[in-house]
Each structure stands twice: as C-alpha cells, then as structure tokens.
C-alpha cells in the first residue's frame, strides 16, 4: 500500500492507503475523499478529476499524454501542476505524496 495525502481546497487533509495498480482517482473516490467527481469513471473524457501534483513529485509519475494535456488546457482551475488523477497509476514510488485539490471541478 502507498500512503497518499489529499489536501482539499479548504485545507482538510485525507491520508489514504492506495492500492498499487489502481489510479489515483479510484483510490480517492473509493476512500471517500471529496472533491473528485470523476463523471466518466476514468475514461479521460470529463476532466472532473483534476488535482495538483507538486513539482517535486512530477518525475515519479508517468508522463502526461496529449489527450490529458488538451483536456487540462480547458479546465477552469488548471495550472502547470495540474493532472487528471484518473490517468495516474499508483506506484510504490508515490509513497508519502501530497496532492492538493481545486476549489471545484467545474
């Protein structure tokens, strides 16, 4: 299990044990972390699962693909740290990662 902390926009923290091989989005929604809608359930079709991954963790994640990049480009609250959490597979390297979340997914 990989420990990951999700920090809500208001500062509330949720530390969860994420199973390797699932996605960050699944780990969050299954563990009742609020603020991730994930309308499309991980099909990279909705961009309602956006999170901010701090720069120092970036090289621990799989690279962003064009589909994800385009979707993010149109999200209201996205910045250079934004990722779609459904496109990130949980690995042991992510143990201890802290992720912050947008004010809303719309």
């Amino acid at each position: 299990m990989t420990k990951i902390t999700f920090v809500e926009h208001d500062g509330t923290e949720h530390t969860i044990d994420a199973a390797e091989g699932t996605t960050l989005m699944e780990a969050a929604t299954k563990n009742s972390v609020p603020g991730i809608d994930a309308d499309c359930g991980g099909a990279c079709a909705c961009a309602t699962c956006m999170v901010y991954v701090p720069a120092e963790w970036k090289d621990k994640l799989e690279a962003i693909d064009t589909m994800e990049e385009t979707m993010l480009d149109f999200c209201e609250h996205s910045d250079e740290n934004s990722r779609l959490s459904c496109q990130i597979k949980v690995t042991a390297d992510m143990d201890g990662m802290r992720i912050t979340m947008p004010e809303s997914q719309h």
């Binding site: 929604t29 299954k30 563990n31 009742s32 809608d37 499309c40 079709a45 589909m67 480009d73 999200c75």
Partner: protein, 407 residues
C-alpha cells in the same frame, strides 16, 4: 416526525446523493433500498472494458463496501420498494418491511425496452443494463460465435466493437436508415458505419426485426423483409424506459419521466427524484429534458441532496455524453435536437478525427467531437454561453478553437 431520509434505487444517483447529503451537513439516518444484489456501480464499463474482461468488479463498484456503514447508511440490497405511502410517509418493500421517511429520494433509473416479437423468450437473447446481464452475455462470448445485435445505438455499437475484438462474428441490424440516428447528424452516423465495417462488422440499416427462431435457444433473427440471420447469441439494445411506476402509483406527476423542478423536487415537496428516471427543466434549451447519462445522475443528485436538507442549488448544466468504440472516443457536448446547420471541422471521410458543430439560427446547440478533446471542451463552454458562431470560422482549422467566437 423524526428526520429520516429514504433513497429508493441504489445506482449512480443514489451513491452521489449519499455523499452530498453528508457534505451538506445532514447527520440523520439514511436508508438505501436497492433491487440489485450489488452496491452502486458504474454502468458505462458494462458495454466497454468490463464486458471485454479488461477490468473486474472491483474497478466498477463506486465505493468500497465499508463506505455505506461508515456513512451511517442502512442498506438493503436485493430489495425492491413496492409502494410509497405518502399519507403515512413510509415506503413498503418486498420483504414486508416499512421504512418511514421525513424526506424521500427516488433514484430508480431506467429499464431496458424489451422487444415484443415472436420468439422473444428464446434462450440466448440478451439485454444490457446490469452486471448480471454482462455475465449472461459473456457466457456466449466465444471466438467464432455468431452474434446479432438488434439496434445500432451507443450500446449496440459499443458491444459490437468489444465482440469484434474478441473474434466474434458480428452483425448489427438497425431499423432506421443509419446508426445512432436519434442523437447525431448523418455525417457522424456514416463515419461510425465506416468504422465498424472496416473492423469487419456486418452492418445493416433499414432492417426491422420481426421475430426470432430456434428450438429453445435462439438460432436466427428474422426481419420483416423476410431475411434470416443465423446466430448463436443476440443482444437487443433498443433504448430504455424510465422507472416511474412507483411514482405514478403514488400519485406524483409523471410526464416522460418523474416530473421535477430545477431543484429536483417532485410534485410532493417531501419527495425528490434524480437521474435517468426524471424529466427536468433546462434553461439553456428552454424545455424539459430526460437524460440518460452519468453526468446528469451525479449533478442532479447533488441538487436533490441540497433540496432534501432545505437548500436550493438549482441544476442547470450543459448535458454531455461519451462513447468509446475501438480506438475512437466520441464526446458530445449539449443536445443537437432542432439544429438547422451541422458545420464540420476536419475531415470525416478519411482518418478518425473531426468535430461537428450544431447551430440553430447561428447559435451553438451542441458539438460532437470524434477524437477531438479541444472541440469538446470548448464546445461545453460555448453551449453554456449560448454563443453565436460563424460557420466559416468553425471550418477554418487555422483558427484555434479558443478563438472561434469572433472578437
């Protein structure tokens, strides 16, 4: 009476409502009544990755099993609500129990439309709505098997794509003169017909199924035009009907779905409804909508939860849908009903990437994006703004989608 919220139906909308009720600060008891033997799960993968066997149940269930107890929910799986007694404010279930409520949420979803032609009861004829339907289909999902799919809508075509990849011999029969006729322009229909034919699917339009033949088990599908299509397995995907019986029998207003206002309230102020079962107003289009989509179930459930605790958070969003077939992702923003012009950006005749913008007297109603995420994302924003667009700019790919509205 003490506060107690009862939810009938345990699908996508119900699951969201539970989360939202707690997020809104409701601390009282919640009772969840679900007919299926499963806790809420996602249906979209049932015609995609789950059917293909690429993901298991653990990846389609919406919440971990412990979620319901931890959220203070008393859940009854495999239990059907049979009556709403509005005077006594309680729900009767098929196990003989009564569940008193102060507020009630109807999240009963929809059921498949059945085909009523001779031979409909033969073994091997399937529908697709539930996990159990998938298990039944998978039992006959063997390479070399012959499958006939009745109905060329999203579900039929998604199943065709999965079956073809599995090495099954697939024939799709559609009554209309083109596939997905209910939701997209002929340009998009013809693109999907080409896609499936190139994959080796036999696709026949203008064919009306008039019966099934076989000894106990289906062996052929017969058309009104007198053709016979030999097969080992049949999938019927001809649409859904909203589950409104309980509401209707309880005297609630029903009109092509349980009638609700923008705050998801039915004609009884103590009863809300959300998801596939409702018919609701939408300001962007100025008329009532009945939608079958996850986005609608989630967003309307959030609104309903707010109403159940006495807050007002009207639901008024651009509907959107998606469909995955082979390596092609279709994303639809908005509803194109009533369009006067379909303007194409990109080339639908070759390749697998283009978008269709639907305009009514210049105003954007909807966008169908085929492997075109920018057009889809921008489309959602522009439809919400009721933007007026110039067809010449839409067609000109040297203009970025962000610049489509002329300054």
């Amino acid at each position: 009476m003490e506060e107690a919220i009862v939810i009938i139906g345990a699908g996508q909308a119900a699951c969201q409502a539970i989360m939202s009720l707690r997020a809104e600060g409701y601390e009282g008891p919640i009772t969840l009544i679900g007919e299926e033997n499963y806790a809420p799960y996602q249906r979209p993968p049932l015609s995609k990755k789950f059917l293909a066997g690429e993901i298991g149940y653990d990846r389609v269930e919406l919440k971990a099993e412990s979620f319901y107890a931890e959220s203070g929910v008393t859940a009854y799986w495999g239990t059907r609500a049979t009556e709403i007694d509005r005077r006594a404010k309680r729900v009767l279930t098929n196990d003989g129990r009564y569940h008193p409520y102060s507020k009630l949420l109807l999240a009963t979803g929809a059921q498949v439309r059945e085909i009523n032609v001779p031979g409909f009861e033969l073994e091997g004829i399937h529908y697709l709505r539930n996990i159990e339907d998938v298990h039944a289909i998978q039992a006959g999902f063997k390479p070399g098997a012959r499958m006939v799919i009745v109905g060329g809508g999203y579900i039929g075509l998604e199943v065709a794509a999965v079956a073809k990849k599995r090495g099954i011999d697939v024939t799709v029969l559609e009554t209309a003169d083109r596939v997905m006729a209910r939701v997209v322009d002929p340009i998009v229909s013809h693109f999907y017909e080409r896609l499936h034919r190139e994959a080796g699917v036999t696709l026949r339009t203008g064919v009306t199924v008039s019966g099934f033949e076989g000894e106990g088990k289906v062996a052929a599908v017969v058309s009104g035009e007198g053709e016979r299509f030999a097969c080992d397995i049949v999938l019927v995907g001809i649409g859904v009907i909203p589950n409104t019986d309980l509401a209707h029998e309880a005297g609630l207003e029903v009109a092509n779905g349980i009638a609700v206002d923008a705050c998801a309230r039915t004609s009884d102020p103590d009863i809300c409804a959300a998801g596939d079962c409702t018919s609701h107003p939408n300001d962007i289009y100025g008329h009532k909508l009945r939608l079958e989509s996850v986005h609608n179930a989630i967003e309307q459930a959030k609104t309903a939860a707010a109403s159940l605790v006495g807050k007002e958070k009207p639901y008024n969003q651009v509907p959107w849908f998606w469909s995955d077939q082979y390596d092609v992702k279709l994303q639809i923003a908005g509803l194109s009903t009533g369009y006067t012009d379909a303007v194409v950006r990109g080339d639908p005749e070759s390749g697998k990437s283009f978008a269709v913008f639907y305009l009514k007297d210049g105003q954007l109603l909807a966008v169908d994006a085929i492997n075109r995420a920018p057009e889809f994302m921008m489309g959602k924003i522009l439809v919400a703004q009721k933007a007026a667009l110039d067809p010449a700019r839409i067609k000109d790919e040297s203009i970025s989608v962000k610049e489509l509205v002329a300054k």
